[in-house]
């Protein structure tokens, strides 16, 4: 096996550990930090089921963003939906078309077909977001270099992916062996294609920066008190552990 293959194997393991440990630690931190006061943005649901529905609408449809700005919503939603489809399309490097998910849950051929073209919607969505960042003075004002680089990074992943689909095919059978090898610890060589190396290299970078960047918005949404709290403050006493001792000291002092 080539030095390059070994390097990528090691990088993938390192990136995976960083991604899962990093995001896991962050989620642990969010989960253990209390929200001492009831601050849902009203009107808010009065039941937990209602809150689940609110969060689902945010995750699936980007409800608040839709209210805020139609262009950002169109580009943002297009990009995220494309990413989801791209993720499922890439399952073909890990599972076979006869596994349990396929068939009843996912229409394999439709997915593969649609997946080819979602690289375009992904790139269009990201390009739209980048254009807003550059040309809308308010968005330009709030952008740091990392905000541009993040978009360019994912555009890079999308473009190299699209090129492999439509211009310079890579050996996907060998690639599948490589990927399955990562899961089963029976390693095989990575096909040597510059586009593939670039594509995977950028994905590795994305995995590594996920837990230390604004990509934390993904877990963050689920822990956002303005979105995940039930409006029931009059009915149920809500109190954080750190505030409990204050019950004793409150009053004339």
């Amino acid at each position: 096996m080539s030095f390059l293959s070994v390097t990528y194997i090691l990088l993938f393991y390192a990136a995976t550990i960083i991604l899962f440990v990093g995001v896991g630690r962050r989620i642990y931190k969010y989960a253990k930090t209390p929200a001492p006061l009831k601050i849902p943005t009203m009107p808010a649901p009065t039941t937990k089921v209602g809150v689940a529905a609110r969060l689902t609408r945010e995750v699936v449809f980007f409800e608040s963003l839709f209210k805020a700005n139609l262009w950002t919503w169109i580009f943002g939603w297009m990009f995220h939906a494309s990413l989801l489809i791209a993720f499922f399309r890439h399952l073909r490097y890990v599972v076979n078309s006869d596994t349990f998910l396929i068939g009843p849950v996912i229409h394999w051929h439709l997915l593969q077909l649609a997946g080819q073209y979602t690289s375009f919607t992904l790139i269009i969505g990201l390009a739209g977001l980048l254009a807003r960042r550059i040309f809308v003075d308010r968005v330009r004002y709030i952008s740091a270099p990392s905000d541009y680089l993040m978009l360019l990074l994912i555009i890079g992943i999308g473009v190299t992916g699209a090129l492999m689909t439509f211009v310079a095919h890579t050996d996907i059978v060998a690639l599948k062996d490589f990927v399955i090898g990562l899961f089963t610890f029976s390693f095989s060589a990575l096909p040597t294609s510059l586009l593939l190396l670039l594509h995977l290299g950028l994905v590795i970078v994305l995995m590594i920066i996920f837990p230390i960047s604004k990509l934390l918005h993904a877990p963050g949404l689920f822990f956002s008190p303005t979105r995940n709290q039930v409006d029931n403050s009059r009915e149920k006493r809500h109190i954080a552990d750190w505030a409990k001792p204050l019950d004793e000291t409150r009053g004339k002092s």
């Binding site: 962050r26 969010y30 930090t33 209390p34 929200a35 001492p36 006061l37 009831k38 601050i39 943005t41 009203m42 009107p43 009065t46 945010e58 980007f62 608040s64 963003l65 209210k67 805020a68 700005n69 950002t72 943002g76 977001l129 960042r133 003075d137 308010r138 968005v139 004002y141 709030i142 740091a144 270099p145 990392s146 905000d147 920066i209 230390i212 960047s213 604004k214 934390l216 918005h217 963050g220 949404l221 822990f223 956002s224 008190p225 303005t226 979105r227 403050s233 009059r234 149920k236 006493r237 809500h238 109190i239 954080a240 750190w242 505030a243 204050l246 409150r250 009053g251 004339k252 002092s253």
Partner: protein, 521 residues
Amino acid sequence: MADFETPKLKEYPVIPNLVDDVMKGSSPFIAKPLHNEPLGFPGELVEGWKDKAIDKMEDLLGKYRGLQVYLDSCVKCGACTDKCHYFLGTSDPKNMPVARQDLLRSVYRRYFTFAGKYFPKLVGARDLDKGVIDEWYSYFHQCSQCRRCSVFCPYGIDTAEISMAAREILDTVGVGQKYCNEIIAKVYKIGNNLGLPEPALKMTLEDLEEEIEEETGLPVKLPLDVKGADIMLITPSADFFAEPHIDGLKGYAKVFHEAGISWTISSYASEAGNFGMFIGSYENMQQISTRIREAAIDLGVKRIVHGECGHAWRVAYSFWNTLIGPFDFLDPNYPVPQHICEFTYDLIKKNKLNIDKTQNDHRTLTFHDSCNVARATRMGDKPGGQFDIPRAIIKAVCNNYVEMDPATTKEATFCCGGGGGLLTDDLMEIRVKGAMPRMEAYNEVVEDYGVTNLACICAICKSQFSKVLPYFNEKGAPQKFSMDMVVSVHQLVYDALVLTGQKFGDELDAHVAAMEAAADD
């Protein structure tokens, strides 16, 4: 105070182009040691303030999940950038919610994140220095914590939470705001924001009783410190003396009278307002509201009803149970606290009030949703009751009602411009400019529908609008906006509610004459 130009009211709302640093000079007066110390804060900027500020930030990050999540999650999508009334009114980019958050986030990143520690330029992280402290002090006092941005943020990032944290850090290092801290110190000393002592309060209430009797011929009472009353009314102290607030208080009294229920005001807890929220201090917020718990226990009341106030209703509705609960000493058949609008609406629904709507026919009303009521509380048992119930009351007592542009009402309502601890004369410029988006929507209904009055359910909104409306009159043109356009919702109730046995015409004149004769004796 610097001179400034009142923004022109445009026919259609326009998102302004950015003008850097126009509001850089806007800062409220700094608190003196005598304002800070009663709140448990150092009197002035402390030695080693930098480390203390970072330590406080760490402390808050561990105590408030919202703060931690919001500082991490922003993707700078720009959804909030055109949502803040202070940005729309000033064009200062640092008044865009995300840019305001970034004043704090940049420091958070520098000291608490990997990227900010090792690649500060890349992620817009910066060191904390005195310039940053000054900038925080200026721009976190150009936020009224109205939460409009949080409605539109895809992650629900609430700039109010950031601004509260920033103010608490500032207080911790001795950089307090005079207006808020002086008022809180007054509450601790006297019991209300105005520093109105018990004898003055008693006299005011007696004067009001006399006024109501002159207008109705009936002895409607405003009881003070009555033990064993059913209801304790907690209302902003502005209701005791300011116009148009006081007419709202008369309205509550008339409603209680007609309901035939015993009620009382407490001189010990003669304030609904809780500026502890504005400065982001859990402990101060709790200390201030504890007076209410103590007064309720002391007077032995069964229920607490809350007057018209925005931020205070937020503290009461959303935080009281946390801060001063449980309320096991009160009647469990009623919500604690209950808003006066819920109380009145209940009576209207049950047809217990005799309403003569024509008494308000000289007015055409529109309703301003107060930011805190709209986006931080509820009324009634359904989400959105905070919008529907006040409107239902107004429509029950008035014939002429018009809505403002729906992009500026309900959950999307614009703040009056004076909330969040900004209702002070040293911040007049930001108050006037921040009122512009609301004024544009109000101007539209004044022009198109001949609206004569703006109904409010918040003491701060009422004071703010009374003060800033006249600024928007064009020089030379006939006066379009006057302070008496601002009315309390319960003032409208007062005017339309006909009490059982109420006297009119000659009978009322005779009663008033008898009252005067008795007073002369």
